[in-house]
């Protein structure tokens, strides 16, 4: 046979008779890869589905909160009602305590043609107007008492129930006695809407008002300011402390039992339930240090404690990721340890540090439980001027509104969630932009 195979013509024949291919399991390997890809895509699709459901549910419930039903009608500032005995020059309290809701009620009754004697009708008319009209008209009159006796065109909030009805959120098919808006009121509502006196406006009050038991007058203004104060406090305290602690632990501290213990504890602190930080803040900052309750300062301090481990862990990871060759290069040139860290290591770790910090801040922004324990779950109607004043926070405001019974608070809860989500998205976009900005290749 060997003689045959050496001849050139036979060699060609031998080549055409292919040797049998070994089975190396290619088919199985490719099948496994396809299966794995499918699992991955299925997992992502599942996640996206829930994200979409969440966003859809929140947005579909909440977008109406950014609009508010308002009534614009001529209001007669009747001397008879506001200051019957003309004693406002001698009694400054007169203009403050005057019965302004009646002024608004009478104005609306006049537009709707309800007789002054129809008590039931007047009551129904009154039910269409927000109680906040009292403060609004009082402010108008005290600012300019000369409008008393004149008729002015005033835009005021409709009652929360009417607002819900106008937005179509109240089922009008149920019996009249089982719903908050009567057929008569719905009829007037449509009449006013046709004449243009009643319409939806952009809800600026949602962003400026504080807490209110009347949903149409409630807003996240106080919560926004409170959250802003807290974020500033968290940023100012936790970034320097966290970065300094990480640099010391990572670059300077000797590696021994004690630093190992510290490292384990920091990792554990990151996993401590946030409500425990609330208890800590209550015990240390309020009971021991005597800071005021419900203050953004205390909230900021508690959230700082909570954010520190996150920032320290992220910063240490970013420092560890800087190639040792950069440290060796700087040290080899005679740079001191501190120069090495601050001139070379820290700038390279900056993207990671900033990302960690912003993720920590975003986490703190959405934190509710510790704030409940330090009294930030309070009814705060006045905008806090300093971090020492009582305030609430966005997630706490959401929590409080979610517990309210009125239909109009449902959309506000979702509206506040949308506001919170927008802030979180902005912060995350900021993290990405900062990372891009500082990213350097080596």
């Amino acid at each position: 046979m060997s003689q045959v195979s050496t001849s050139p013509s036979m060699a060609a024949v031998g080549a055409s008779a292919k040797p049998e291919r070994r089975d190396i399991g290619l088919r199985g390997r490719y099948a496994a890869e396809r299966r794995f890809r499918f699992y991955g895509m299925a997992a992502i699709a599942f996640g996206l589905l829930f994200l979409f459901l969440l966003l859809f549910s929140v947005v579909s419930k909440g977008y109406t909160a950014f609009q508010q039903t308002m009534i614009t009608i001529p209001v007669e500032f009747s001397q008879q009602i506001i200051d019957k005995n003309n004693e406002r020059a001698t009694n400054p309290q007169k203009l403050v305590t005057a019965n302004y809701p009646v002024v608004a009620r009478n104005a609306l009754a006049k537009v709707l043609g309800v007789s002054e004697d129809d008590r039931a009708g007047l009551k129904a008319v009154n039910g269409m107007i927000s109680d906040s009209v009292r403060v609004q008209l009082r402010n108008l009159v005290t600012a300019d008492p000369s409008i008393i006796g004149t008729t002015q065109k005033v835009t005021f909030l409709a009652h929360g129930d009417l607002d819900s009805a106008f937005k179509g959120q109240i089922d009008l098919s149920v019996p009249e006695t089982n719903r908050k808006v009567s057929d008569k009121q719905v009829g007037w509502m449509n009449q006013l809407a046709e004449s243009g006196a009643l319409s939806k406006h952009f809800n600026t009050g949602l962003f400026t008002n504080g807490a209110s038991s009347r949903p149409e007058a409630a807003g996240v203004g106080v919560a926004l300011i409170g959250s802003l104060y807290m974020m500033l406090i968290v940023l100012v305290l936790s970034l320097p402390i966290g970065v300094a602690a990480s640099i010391y632990l990572e670059e300077f501290a000797p590696k021994n039992r004690f630093t190992d213990l510290i490292e384990v504890n920091i990792n554990n602190l990151a996993a401590v339930p946030s409500i425990v930080y609330g208890l800590l803040g209550l015990a240390v900052f309020i009971n021991f240090a005597g800071f005021p309750r419900s203050a953004a300062l205390v909230g900021g301090l508690v959230l700082t404690l909570m954010t520190l481990p996150t920032i320290i862990i992220a910063t240490r990871a970013a420092l560890k990721a800087v190639p040792p060759s950069i440290r060796a290069a700087a040290l080899g040139l005679g740079a001191s340890k501190m120069q090495t860290v601050f001139h070379h290591v820290l700038p390279l770790a900056m993207p990671g540090i900033l990302t960690g910090t912003i993720i920590g801040l975003a986490h703190a922004l959405g934190e509710t439980a510790p704030l409940l324990l330090i009294g930030m779950v309070a009814f705060v109607a006045d905008v806090p001027a300093t971090p020492m004043d009582p305030a609430t926070a966005l997630p706490v405001q959401i929590y409080m509104w979610a517990n309210e019974a009125e239909r109009a608070f449902v959309e506000r809860t979702s509206g506040a969630i949308i506001v919170l989500l927008i802030f979180l998205i902005l912060m995350n976009v900021g993290a990405i932009l900062l990372r891009r900005r500082f990213e350097r290749r080596w």
């Binding site: 060759s325 950069i326 080899g332 040139l333 005679g334 001139h343 070379h344 080596w442």
Partner: protein, 271 residues
């Protein structure tokens, strides 16, 4: 180079011929990494304005010895050095010696090119800046230009000094690292396998550069390549298992070594 430095070279060579001048003297140097001993009582002297090559199989302690010369081992946890190493007449492990000042006198070039992620100019200027070697911008410009010229890189990068140092090719990066070390005007330059990550052409350039640098600096180079040791060095030291096997003139080392192990290693019988 100018007349001054040529005169200095001649003087140095003259001294070498008559009585040998040692830049660094290592006496009974032992290094421990925790419990593990990496170097056993090494006695090795580094001659001034000479290229000394350290050769030996992997893990023989040659890099460890190199790093004791500018105390880079200090940065490794659990590393302990005993014995005595002097630079001129200063004991570099004396508590009174500042390690920052030592490293300004004994520079280092690493195995992998490691330029800072900054511009070429900033890479070279960093050392002089932290040591305050240049008062004015013009002085710094001069130092940067001279250093890049000494590293044979000036003509290639003079038009893009403010572009990133990491955008250069591997060989250029390594020469940039040499320029960076030279810019501090050290007395000794340590090189830890400076060509192991480079292609043959870049290697040739760096070797040529080492040859030229010898006139101004004392150089200690660790290398895995026997040919490189033969090409660039005047003295060669052979390490094996943490011991200094033999230290000799390079010519003698590669033709007629005293020790059988050196002979075997050079012939490629182990390592």
């Amino acid at each position: 180079m100018n007349m001054m430095s040529e005169a200095a070279v001649e003087k140095a060579l003259d001294r070498q011929m008559n009585d040998i001048s040692y830049k660094m003297i290592g006496k009974d140097v032992s290094v421990y990494y925790g419990e593990k001993r990496a170097l056993y009582d090494v006695n090795l002297n580094v001659r001034e304005n000479t290229v000394t090559a350290l050769i030996g199989p992997s893990g023989c302690g040659k890099s460890t010895f190199l790093r004791t010369l500018n105390r880079m081992n200090d940065t490794i946890d659990g590393c302990r050095v005993t014995g005595r190493i002097t630079l001129d007449s200063d004991d570099i492990y004396d508590p009174n010696i500042d390690v920052v000042e030592l490293r300004a006198r004994v520079g280092m070039v690493f195995q992998k090119p490691n330029p800072f992620p900054k511009s070429i100019y900033e890479n070279v200027a960093y050392g002089p800046r932290i040591h305050g070697l240049a008062k004015a911008k013009a002085d710094m410009d001069a130092i940067v230009e001279q250093s890049l010229q000494k590293a044979g890189l000036w003509n290639e990068v003079k038009d893009r000094l403010h572009e990133g140092g990491t955008g250069l090719s591997g060989g250029q990066q390594q020469r940039l690292c040499i320029a960076r070390a030279v810019a501090v005007s050290p007395e000794v330059i340590l090189m830890d396998e400076p060509c192991s990550a480079l292609d043959p052409i870049a290697t040739a350039k760096v070797e040529e550069l080492i040859h030229e640098l010898r006139t101004n600096f004392t150089i200690v180079i660790v290398t895995h390549s026997m040919q490189q040791a033969a090409r660039v060095s005047q003295r060669t030291a052979m390490f094996h298992l943490g011991n200094l096997v033999e230290e000799n003139d390079t010519d003698k080392m590669f033709t007629n070594p005293d020790d059988q192990r050196t002979q075997d290693y050079i012939m490629g019988r182990f390592g």
